[in-house]
């Protein structure tokens, strides 16, 4: 599988607005993905392609997610990153 240095923040649907604001304001190549499972659960993902490192904007987003007590997880190329206070989403 091709490596893209892809960073994915997955969270519960309530995080959608925050993700949309990040995409609008960030210069990085970022996309919003909405997932719906057959079991009725859903989640939103912020996908940042070619992310070299956790940027200032992303660090601010993580801080907001934590303050709002939204469940989220972060994966870089499929490997989950340990972020203080991040509960596994979904």
């Amino acid at each position: 599988m091709e490596k893209l240095n892809e960073l994915i923040v997955e969270a519960e649907p309530r995080a959608q607005e925050l993700f949309e604001a990040f995409i609008k304001e960030s210069a990085e190549a970022a996309f919003l993905e909405q997932g719906k499972a057959m079991d009725g659960t859903s989640a939103v993902q912020l996908v940042i392609e070619n992310a070299p490192q956790i940027s200032v904007a992303l660090a601010a987003l993580i801080g907001t997610l934590q303050r709002r007590r939204l469940r989220f997880s972060i994966r870089r190329d499929g490997i989950e990153l340990a972020i203080d206070g991040a509960a596994g989403a979904g």
């Binding site: 599988m1 993905e33 909405q34 997932g35 499972a37 057959m38 079991d39 009725g40 859903s42 993902q45």
Partner: protein
């Protein structure tokens, strides 16, 4: 010349890979994807939407998934969910006793928590099942349910189970795509789903009905004290509040189920629709299809419900308050009866297909489907749920055994997927890796086909 059919991109392949944690996708036979794509095309009215992608996954989660990304979307089709449902149908068709079905559900629930709790996964994969199930009903009622269920089985469309199960799952996901890009049919289904929502709310949350106490006590079959009745009334009020808060989400799910119901019935029309002008015979044929479809949805509902209970047990303990959405799939199942009635109406000749006929047809569909639902509940859903709940509770209260294997499910999945089903989906080497070699496996004797069903009195 239209644009070439593109089903897969690097983006969708990456998502499929990240959602496949059960088996390497390269181990899946390539023709399986071709067959499923053809079936998916039959659930679409018109050409393939250019931005719809399709990938296979094999996940411990056991649930199909649709990801929307702007104007693109990918259906991640989960083979483990499809295989589990087909095997459950095999057991029901063969009139297997509840214990084999319970083992399968427990294995599926265990698999879903393999990462969070390897010890619980191992415990559920080797769950002991007592010979006698813990039924809710007395023996007389149980036998009546069994006789009714047994009489229904020969009329169901088991020989089409592969295309029925896959068609249901594919069309449901397709409908989520259409929800965001609605055509005329989806617009109509959206409106029907709103009425179905109200119908299901009235059926599920009956706390305001004048005969609440009668319904709650199954007309005297299950006597309850005043405190129990009051607790049930409060539970129903909470449930109503939860369903109403998620009204839009539930209406989307109901519309997607209705889309799947309609498209799967169209695909199989030549099977259930007799060649006759006798509308009663056509209606009877449709009800046979509707019962089969409902059975698949009921098996799927219980599948996801047991997974949720295992996750609930790991997260906070099975005796803590259940998550508010735990009954959503049951709610959707009830709404399906309303959607089925809409379809059944089209079996009537035009002179009878009037709005005034709807309540009578609804009553007819309801009595046939609710009869099946009640038997399914009494014989399968209730004892299976009780057994798995007891297992979860026992596990929570006991000291946790050490797990020596990194993957407690590895080579033990015969109990969930069997040995005769996977050739359609996985290569032989993948099958052996997942469920162990055919020789000498301790659970091989329980997963082979052809085991004689037990008699009614053993159930």
């Amino acid at each position: 010349m239209g644009s070439p059919c593109i089903w897969s991109t690097k983006w969708s392949q990456r998502r499929a890979a990240s959602h496949s944690d059960l088996c390497d996708l390269s181990e899946v036979r390539s023709e399986v994807a071709d067959i499923l794509r053809q079936l998916l095309m039959r659930t679409i009215r018109g050409p393939k939407p250019p931005h719809l992608l399709f990938e296979l996954i094999t996940s411990k989660r056991q649930s199909a998934y649709l990801i929307d990304r702007g104007d693109q979307a990918v259906i991640l089709y989960d083979l483990s969910q499809s295989m589990a449902l087909k095997r459950l149908l095999d057991f029901v068709e063969a009139d297997r006793p509840y214990d084999e079905i319970a083992k399968l559900y427990a294995a599926c629930a265990g698999l879903s928590v393999a990462d969070e709790s390897p010890a619980l996964c191992a415990a559920l994969l080797s769950m002991p099942v007592p010979q006698e199930g813990e039924y809710l009903h007395n023996l007389g009622d149980l036998l009546a349910h069994y006789q009714a269920f047994k009489a229904t089985l020969p009329g169901l469309m088991f020989e089409w189970k592969s295309s029925l199960v896959d068609g249901y799952l594919l069309a449901h996901e397709m409908a989520h795509f259409l929800w965001k890009h609605p055509d005329e049919l989806m617009t109509r289904l959206k409106s029907g789903a709103e009425s179905a929502f109200e119908y299901a709310l009235g059926q599920v949350c009956y706390e305001n009905q004048p005969n609440f106490a009668d319904i709650a006590q199954h007309w005297g079959e299950l006597p309850k004290g005043p405190e129990e009745l009051e607790k049930l009334r409060r539970d129903l009020v909470n449930r109503r509040r939860s369903h109403e808060a998620k009204r839009n989400h539930l209406i989307e799910e109901i519309a997607c189920d209705a889309y799947a119901l309609l498209m799967v019935s169209v695909i199989h029309m030549s099977v259930w629709q007799p060649k006759t002008d006798d509308y009663e015979a056509v209606l009877e044929g449709y009800l046979r299809f509707a019962q089969t479809f409902f059975l698949i949805v009921a098996l799927s509902d219980l599948h996801q419900a047991m997974i949720r209970r295992a996750k609930h047990s790991v997260a906070s303990g099975i005796e803590t308050e259940k998550p508010a959405d735990i009954a959503d799939m049951h709610f959707r199942k009830m709404a399906l009866i309303y959607s089925m009635t809409g379809n059944a109406m089209t079996c009537l000749p035009e002179r009878l297909r009037q709005v005034e006929a709807f309540p009578t047809v609804l009553q007819g569909v309801q009595s046939v489907i609710v009869g099946l639902k009640d038997s399914f509940g009494a014989l399968i859903a209730i004892p299976v749920t009780r057994l798995i709940r007891a297992q979860l509770l026992a596990f929570e209260r006991q000291p946790k055994p050490a797990i020596h294997s990194e993957q407690p499910w590895h080579q033990k999945l015969a109990v969930a997927f069997g040995r005769d089903r996977p050739p359609l989906t996985y290569t032989e080497s993948a099958v052996n890796a997942l469920i162990g070699s055919a020789e000498g496996s301790p659970d091989s004797h329980t997963s082979r086909r052809g085991r004689r069903p037990r008699s009614a009195s053993r159930r």
